[in-house]
Symmetry: C2
Subunit: 387 residues, 2 copies
């Protein structure tokens, strides 16, 4: 444990990125932050760079390169810009773990680059596995790289599987808070505005994932992510609504025994575990107390009203490029919802129409994913215009 | 996995013993039952021996030796009787795991003999660790022997600790059903008869442990057992009442993460895991379904009304031979309650008086335990006469 753990954070200005920096700040003698990247929030990236003094930073938006470059002129920090730089900085020798906390499809390319540079991945960007799970897991095996999940549900499963590599999984249960609209009818959902959807009962997260939580698309994407992370068949994955968000997920083994990982909802814990696995470092995070949660409740997910979860299971079962298409459609439809261009229920409608229109392709090929993503976005965008 | 697992069951006619035989019967190609022993139920021992054809059987009650011997005359089975034989048969070469399912203090001597013969222990006899935890764990370390817990709570902790040997335990929560008198007042408990106490809401068990469950003494003994199994300080052990008996216990690690092991209440699962660790063998036990248990509830244990749990924590904190004394008093007082000689509330009164009268001794010496046990039994017996 004498060597520090070298970290690259892709997406350091987002919700996961900033919480990861809080974790890293708590252990100055044990983490060595080497790389910070941001899509467009130059001001925060500059502030983070000045505070943490990484080896280099990348600003995705090339128009902001000079701004960042000049602000960090007096620091010993290399400044890059653009998508290719994002992929390159993950390959630095001093980086041991790459935390991929970018939003959406954009995470795929740099994650593949990091895997090919034999870096372990702390995966917060679930879309990487949703879009290209077969390719990414194949590459990880080929390069001997581990993928440590950051999503609280998948971290829970991962924690429950520690020491159980010799035992087959019978089934997993991904827990879902149910979001702010749990129990609502279709009629009620028709009137939902983004202000309502952006208020998650338990978790503070970015805008995209908060909308996805409200529409159960996030749980759908997690189902697909779980398939690839833990090598499961669709029928081995179940979703259970648990409004208190204390039980983060469960595994059932072939002997019938179940293990659950639990705790207060706090993303810093799974972030830290993904960076320090298999070790658990002592924290001062608030501890769970049963007296604050004397009732833990569970109910079935309403897949009829919240169509997105059903769509994800359908994409998972049929396989091929359908999950890629679903994800692309959802990125477009959620963006449109956030711009008040479509209603909350339209999100699933556009996702479904796009998935149904997809030209089915089962080859695990990067170019197929790129093309599927592109076509699905165009289809969804057109569908939005027609609403 | 080509060699079968050789098993000795000490106490094969009791609740744990008969359930262990059900488990063993399910895997005829993987288990090899070598030894069966019973305290006094000769008829059942004979029937078990004819069915499973072990290498040898022991009947504890020497007056029944001839009965067993003659009944098994035509079988290729060695028949022994008495306490010494019990200790000797655990040392057979063909035995890999000794399941100690005897009731009470009687488990200590044969368990120590098995440890010294370098046999791994599947420990269902919690009194062994309650009475002589320091000695037994020291001997297990010395002889390189593993102790696999069979109690559902300790099995749960043990399962949660798999793969976590490098990580410190911050705290454990032992769950308690609360027994049939959960929420009752002292006034209500005054009228309890053994018929009520023998009806446990969730678990089917022997008479002694069922009474101990109703009085929370069983949970107290489990607290002490947990201290020795997992090397904990008293303040690291908490008890939480969970009436549904689905969450079998929990571990909290230093990072704040908690793991729970869950499932339907069925002792066959922890029995099997103790025999097959680290492997989990596929079973057809009924599976847990959230829709049957949509509410899991938790409450604080009433240590004021149910004094026995407090006494156990006191014995644990003060250490030495107090737990041995408490256990001996409790065996005597529960036996008296089962004979309608004392009331339900008298059990804890006699236990407390006996513990307070104990001559404190901290040496982890077998003879000290034997003497403490003897004196405590005498003291408790006298106290019963005075009631």
């Amino acid at each position: 444990m004498s060597e520090k753990i070298g970290i690259a954070i892709l997406g350091s200005t987002g919700s996961i990125g900033t919480q990861a920096l809080e974790v890293i700040e708590s252990y100055p003698d044990r983490f060595d932050l080497r790389v910070l990247t941001a899509h467009s929030n130059a001001a925060l990236l500059i502030a983070q760079a000045k505070k943490f003094e990484p080896q280099c930073v990348v600003i995705g938006d090339e128009s902001k390169y000079l701004l960042v470059k000049e602000a960090l002129e007096k620091e010993d920090i290399l400044v890059y810009a653009g998508e290719n730089a994002l992929a390159e900085v993950t390959t630095l020798d001093s980086v041991h773990v790459v935390l991929t906390a970018l939003v959406g499809y954009a995470g795929l390319k740099p994650t593949l680059a990091a895997i090919r540079a034999k870096k372990n991945i702390a995966l917060a960007n679930k879309e990487t596995l949703v879009v290209a799970g077969e390719l990414v897991t194949k590459e990880a095996r080929k390069y001997g790289v581990s993928i440590y999940p950051v999503d609280s549900e998948h971290s829970a499963i991962f924690q429950c599987l520690t020491g159980e590599h010799m035992n087959a999984i019978e089934k997993i249960y991904l827990t879902a808070s149910g979001g702010p609209f749990r129990g609502w009818s279709t009629e009620q959902l028709e009137k939902v505005k983004k202000e309502h959807a952006l208020k998650h009962p338990n978790w503070v997260m970015g805008a995209k994932i908060t909308i996805d939580s409200a529409s159960l698309m996030n749980k759908g994407l997690e189902v697909i992510e779980a398939k690839w992370l833990f090598d499961l068949k669709p029928e081995q994955i179940d979703v259970i609504v648990h409004p208190q968000s204390i039980v983060h997920s469960l595994v059932q083994f072939e002997d019938g025994s179940m293990k659950a990982q639990m705790g207060l909802p706090d993303m810093k814990l799974p972030i830290q575990y993904a960076l320090t696995f298999p070790y658990r470092w002592k924290t001062d995070f608030p501890r769970f107390n049963f007296m604050d949660y004397p009732n833990l409740t569970f109910e079935q997910a309403d897949r009829k009203t919240f169509r997105n979860l059903d769509l994800a299971f359908e994409a998972l079962t049929k396989g091929g490029n359908l999950a890629c298409s679903l994800n692309a459609a959802n990125e477009v439809s959620v963006a449109a919802f956030l711009k008040d261009e479509i209603s909350f229920l339209d999100i699933a409608k556009i996702n479904e129409a796009t998935m149904n229109a997809t030209q089915f392709n089962t080859s695990a090929d990067y170019d197929v994913y790129v093309q599927t993503d592109q076509l699905a976005r165009e289809y969804a965008q057109n569908a939005i215009q027609l609403i």
